[in-house]
Symmetry: C2
Subunit: 241 residues, 2 copies
Amino acid sequence: MIRLFTSDDLGPRRQVAPTAAQAHYLTRVMRLPAGGELRLFNGRDGEWSARLAAPAGKTCRLQVEALERPQSFGPDLDLVVALVKRGRLETIVEKAAELGARRVRLAITERANVGHANIARLAAIATEAAEQTGRLDVPDIFRPEPLTSLLADWPADRRLMFCDEAGDAPPALEALVRAEGRAWAVLIGPEGGFSPAERAHIRALPAAVPVSLGPRILRADTAAISALTLWQAAGGDWRGP
Amino acid sequence: MIRLFTSDDLGPRRQVAPTAAQAHYLTRVMRLPAGGELRLFNGRDGEWSARLAAPAGKTCRLQVEALERPQSFGPDLDLVVALVKRGRLETIVEKAAELGARRVRLAITERANVGHANIARLAAIATEAAEQTGRLDVPDIFRPEPLTSLLADWPADRRLMFCDEAGDAPPALEALVRAEGRAWAVLIGPEGGFSPAERAHIRALPAAVPVSLGPRILRADTAAISALTLWQAAGGDWRGP
């Protein structure tokens, strides 16, 4: 079943105008006929069944039909990730969407590989991954911000799972036994690791929970996926009903 | 510190001939001077310090010096993965090396995306990932084999973590509470999932342990990384000393 994200409101008898890229995807790539069924979600109104209305000239419209799933959100989990190289950052954003992160914050660190990011492209990757993974919202991607200012403004009530390569942190599953029911974020450093000053700054935060991700050196994308997985399994929505 | 895998024996006063690609990497990419230090491992003799010997004509030699870490292996964990599309399969092999899998077996399934794989290229990816992640061996990559014959010959004493999308499996962490100290494999299906017949065949194996990886649909590479992570955290070498 095709699932598309729209920014339009969804409700009975509404019509939605797909973007040009969505119209191309529906009619050219997927060759959906007039009357063909799909699902729509917008992060507010739940998931709705809809049909491709008969084409009228060049426009393409989607006729909204029925509510299939009421709006819901996953646990309150953010990902804070250093600006690593473009390919790995794109992988991380895709996986953050699959693994249920609500927001992705990009941190400029001392050893960051790059100083900028194409937010529109990352948002498009997050949207496509959200469509495919079946969630009812799309993670927000924030503009890059210096790690120091992110930490200076860190909310006291959001725990920060700090994936610390430097060695003496407890295994992640041990550190996450009380993860349930709170707001959290996962923090992933750049390929070269955090600087000693950054590391001291992070560990001094009362909200920081240092964890170890095993004895091998992980690339940033692997560390992000592993950390989000362990959080969801220990305290998030992978725990079952 | 540069780490290279070699198939040569390692020991005091031995000399190792790097491959042409390794010689190029050392002298051209990394610009290692004569006398420059690196580490060598071969999956048998541990990790050794070595130095680039002074060049003699066109040949390049590595002088082995001292044992830095005795040979060790991670837990006895295999990955069995359906032949998914090339890019995702390459990611999976890289991550399997980082996450400590000992062997990667490629399964031809009913809904597999492709029927062949470039084993030499996958082995090179596994070797490079092993060099960077710090392990002392390289995972073996096996030629593709039909899933039916893999299952027909499945050893009774190797548990099979079956990542089952179809719904009624318990959360992975619950299913893995007794993972410790046994031989295991993680089984990951193709993008379209296993067929009903394949699924019934897998679940009928006494060694099979069906697990759920949460409420969202995961791509094959995400599922592989998440499953290997959860296994290492619950029963493998991420549990700490």
